[in-house]
Symmetry: C2
Subunit: 126 residues, 2 copies
DNA sequence: CTTCTGTATTATATTAATTAATACAGTTAA
DNA sequence: TTAACTGTATTAATTAATATAATACAGAAG
C-alpha cells in the first residue's frame, strides 16, 4: 500500500505526501482511519522519521489528516463546516492552467467534458 | 513592461519565466514579436545574463518562444500544427486538481462555470 | 571589421532543501 | 509506576539548487 518510486527525483517527503493524499482521495483510506505512525512508516519505507513527519505536517496543513499527540495520525473528515485550506489554492491553480490551455487553443468543450468525466467516474484512474 | 517583484521567494529565473509567459498568453506580446535579448533583459532587471538564459531556455522547451542564433528570441506561433509540448502536462495537472477538488466536495457545476467564465472573458485578469 | 545575437562552459559563492541524530512530552496498557 | 508507543521540537550536518561571474564560440547585420 505504501511504497516509493525512486525513479522520481522529487523530494522524498513530497512523494510520500502525494501518495498518502492519493490513498485518501481515492477512498482507500477512510475518514478517521488511523494511518501508520511516523516511525512505523519510516521503517516501512526505510527513510528517516523526520521525512515522514514533514510529509504528515504538510498533509495536516492542507487539511487532509489530523494528528493527536501520543495517539497517532488520522484521515481528516472532509465534510466539516469550516472552509478547507487547500481549496482556494487548487482553484487558483486551476484557473491559471485553464487560461494557459485556452491560449494554446484547447477547445472549451474539451475541458468541460474532461471535468464531467472525472466527476462521473468518481475520481481519477489507478 | 518587464519588472520583478522581489517579495516572491521563488527562483529569479522562474519569476522571469512566468512573467514573460503571462505577457504572451495575455496577448501583450504577439506571435513572432521580438522579445529583449538575454543581455538586454539582464541589464534591465539587473540580474545575471545566465539567469535570463535559463528562463528563455525553459520557455523555449515549453514552446512559448523560439530563439534564432545571432538574431534574437521571439514569441512562438501558437497555432502551429505540431502538438504543443506544454499541453499534456497542463491537462494532467488539471485532472489531478479536479479530482482533489471533487474529494473536497466542490460542486461540479462550480468548476464548469469557472471555466466558462474564463473563456468568455478571454483569459485571466491583470 | 565591429557589434550585436544565442549558446555553452567552468568556477565559485550563497542559499535552500534534505537528512540525520537526539531529546522532550503525552498516552496507553501491563 | 514502568515500559513502550505516540507526535513534536531542536540542532547539526550534508546535499542540492540557485545565482553570479568570467569567458569563449558561432552566426548575422550593418
Amino acid at each position: 500500500m505504501f511504497q516509493l518510486d525512486f525513479k522520481d527525483r522529487r523530494p522524498l517527503h513530497e512523494q510520500i505526501k502525494e501518495q498518502v493524499k492519493k490513498l485518501i482521495i481515492t477512498g482507500v483510506l477512510q475518514p478517521d482511519e488511523r494511518i501508520p505512525s511516523v516511525r512505523e512508516l519510516a521503517q516501512m519505507l526505510t527513510v528517516n522519521p523526520n521525512t515522514i513527519q514533514r510529509a504528515y505536517k504538510d498533509l495536516e496543513a492542507e487539511g487532509f489528516i489530523y494528528s493527536i499527540r501520543a495517539k497517532g495520525s488520522f484521515v481528516a473528515n472532509r465534510d466539516s463546516t469550516e472552509p478547507h485550506p487547500r481549496r482556494e489554492e487548487l482553484m487558483r491553480e486551476l484557473e491559471r492552467n485553464v487560461a494557459e490551455l485556452m491560449y494554446l487553443n484547447e477547445p472549451v468543450e474539451q475541458l468541460l467534458e474532461t471535468i464531467r468525466a472525472i466527476y462521473k467516474k468518481g475520481g481519477l484512474n489507478e
